[in-house]
């Protein structure tokens, strides 16, 4: 008899604080868009945009991914999480490190605080990576999803070490490559190596499970794995050595890899037993539609069309925003509704069946609020991209207000789930 996945679940005290921190950080970022819209109208190497980006990628997205992974690793690898104290130490260090890092970037001060913050983040990631690798080591499930997750956390470690190197290079220059090119290298290692591969590893297990899809062709994932990693290594080396041809080639290798993964997800969707999609899955589907935008923008930027010369900088900011604020943020919000209610539900109702009124996990949040949140997000994101591309500050302020309303509704549901109490029979 196999062990049941829920028996391996970690303590909710380890998982839930990550969601709370992440949700509040996303809310804070939308306020920063309202009060500092010109961060999005300048060159991407500006203090405020660096601060906002690090809040987003570390405090919001990575924080929630860490929490969700502690819950999902036992499901994917069918073993217990290696260490809960490692997870708690990682949470505290990542939280503190992110706040201090964002503060230092905002001040554009590469002093002691910046290096303390960067060290906190590196150590937090170190704890996380050790936890994932040691959990994977004790698992006998040698599946492609596991390979994606292991590879992605190694890329995360590379990304934060590259970030620390960048900070040192800013104060004591020792690398010949320009900071701007190094920043692109750091960003793409994080986006493609960490986020995209982690998303592929987790979603290729979870989405077929949520939709109850069987016999989906996992060879498509193997193709995606090799294409993404070969393309990414080629791209980063080319960025470091300033070889334009290599950068274009890397995009030409990576994009079909991602398309192969998308074809796997589409196959799972067409083979699904559960025909109706709930709000969490609808927002997830919406995230995949958003991916068309960065695909279009990356080739537009790489092919350097002459008539778009004046738009190169705004389109670069739009490209990064489409991935981080568009695709990944939308996916994280959607998957929150697929993971957090189950985590809280298991915490509240395990061992109490028959003694209390048993709701469904979807009853822990308001679906109407979630629908409004999705529509506001779609409108806010569209306005943001328009504002960035046209550099119209008022449009950016308006997009920030709409995104703030969406983030507020998201947080309303998030804390409604977290503070859910059972009703006695």
């Amino acid at each position: 008899m196999n062990q049941i996945a829920s028996q391996n679940a970690p303590s909710p005290k380890v998982v839930i604080p990550h969601y709370a921190f992440g949700g509040l950080t996303w809310l804070a970022v939308t306020l920063l868009i309202v009060f500092k819209p010109d961060a999005f109208t300048q060159h991407f190497f500006n203090p405020e945009l660096l601060a906002i980006t690090h809040l987003l990628v570390l405090g919001w997205i990575t924080m929630i991914i860490f929490g969700a992974l502690y819950q999902l690793l036992p499901v994917i690898m069918e073993v217990k999480l290696y260490s809960e104290p490692f997870a708690i130490a990682s949470f505290i260090l990542l939280g503190l490190g992110t706040i201090l890092l964002a503060f230092s970037f905002w001040q554009f001060s590469f002093g002691v605080i910046m290096f303390v913050a960067a060290t906190f983040v590196v150590v937090a990631v170190g704890f996380f990576v050790a936890n994932v690798l040691l959990t994977a080591h004790s698992s006998t499930k040698k599946v492609i999803e596991r390979t994606f997750i292991i590879t992605s956390v190694i890329w995360l470690l590379f990304t934060v070490l590259a970030g620390l190197t960048l900070a040192i290079n800013q104060v004591h220059p020792f690398l010949e490559t320009s900071q701007i090119e190094l920043l692109k290298l750091h960003a793409h290692a994080g986006i493609v190596g960490w986020f995209i591969q982690l998303i592929i590893g987790v979603s290729s297990k979870l989405l077929p499970m949520f939709m109850v899809s069987h016999d989906v062709n996992t060879r498509k994932l193997t193709v995606a794995y090799y294409a993404i990693n070969i393309g990414l290594i080629a791209g980063l080396v080319s960025l470091f050595l300033q070889m334009k041809f290599g950068i274009v080639m890397s995009a030409i290798i990576i994009v079909p890899g991602i398309l192969s993964y998308l074809s796997f997800i589409y196959e799972a969707y067409t083979k699904r037993v559960k025909k109706q999609l709930d709000i969490g899955m609808k927002q997830t589907a919406f995230s995949f539609l958003i991916l068309v935008i960065p695909f279009f923008l990356i080739f537009t930027l790489l092919f350097n069309f002459e008539f778009l010369n004046n738009l190169t900088l705004p389109l670069s900011v739009a490209y990064g925003s489409a991935i981080v604020i568009g695709f990944i943020t939308s996916l994280v919000m959607g998957q929150t509704y697929k993971t957090l209610p189950f985590i809280v539900w298991l915490k509240v109702y395990r061992g109490r069946i028959g003694k209390v009124v048993l709701p469904l996990p979807k009853d822990l949040y308001s679906e109407k609020v979630a629908i409004a949140q999705l529509w506001l997000f779609a409108a806010g994101f569209a306005l943001l991209l328009l504002g960035i591309s046209t550099t119209i500050v008022n449009l950016l302020i308006f997009s920030g207000i709409v995104l703030f309303l969406s983030a507020a509704l998201y947080n309303f549901n998030l804390f409604k789930i977290i503070f859910h109490k059972p009703k006695n029979k």
Binding site: A5, Q7, K205, M209, V273, K275, Q276, F342
Partner: protein, 102 residues
């Protein structure tokens, strides 16, 4: 299948998969029920739609609690089985309708 086993099947319709929102009989998750009057034992063979199903523990707990409350003097054993693996063919007509299959 005797009358008591039929009754247990009916009772198990009260256990709902929280993700799919369909009861476990219509999902075809129950592979067999054995009612043993002399030994005061009830054995239930149950599967899940996927080995990684995070809700498996609660479905089992719910089924166990439900049958124990209806048969208080019986030992209830829920056996989690993976052979044959669950497939869409296991769904009843009502299950297919609830999931939008027909």
């Amino acid at each position: 299948m005797n009358t008591e086993e039929k009754n247990i099947f009916e009772l198990l319709k009260g256990v709902v998969d929280p993700e799919l929102m369909v009861n476990i009989i219509d999902l075809g998750l129950i592979y067999g029920v054995t009612y043993n009057e002399p030994e005061h034992k009830i054995d239930i063979d149950l599967t899940l739609t996927s080995p990684g199903c995070p809700m498996g523990g609660l479905i089992i707990e719910d089924a166990q609690q439900l049958i124990e409350s209806s048969y208080p003097n019986f030992e209830v054993n829920i056996n989690l089985v993976w052979e044959p693996m669950w497939s869409v063919e296991n769904l009843t007509e009502a299950g297919k309708e609830a999931l939008g299959q027909i």
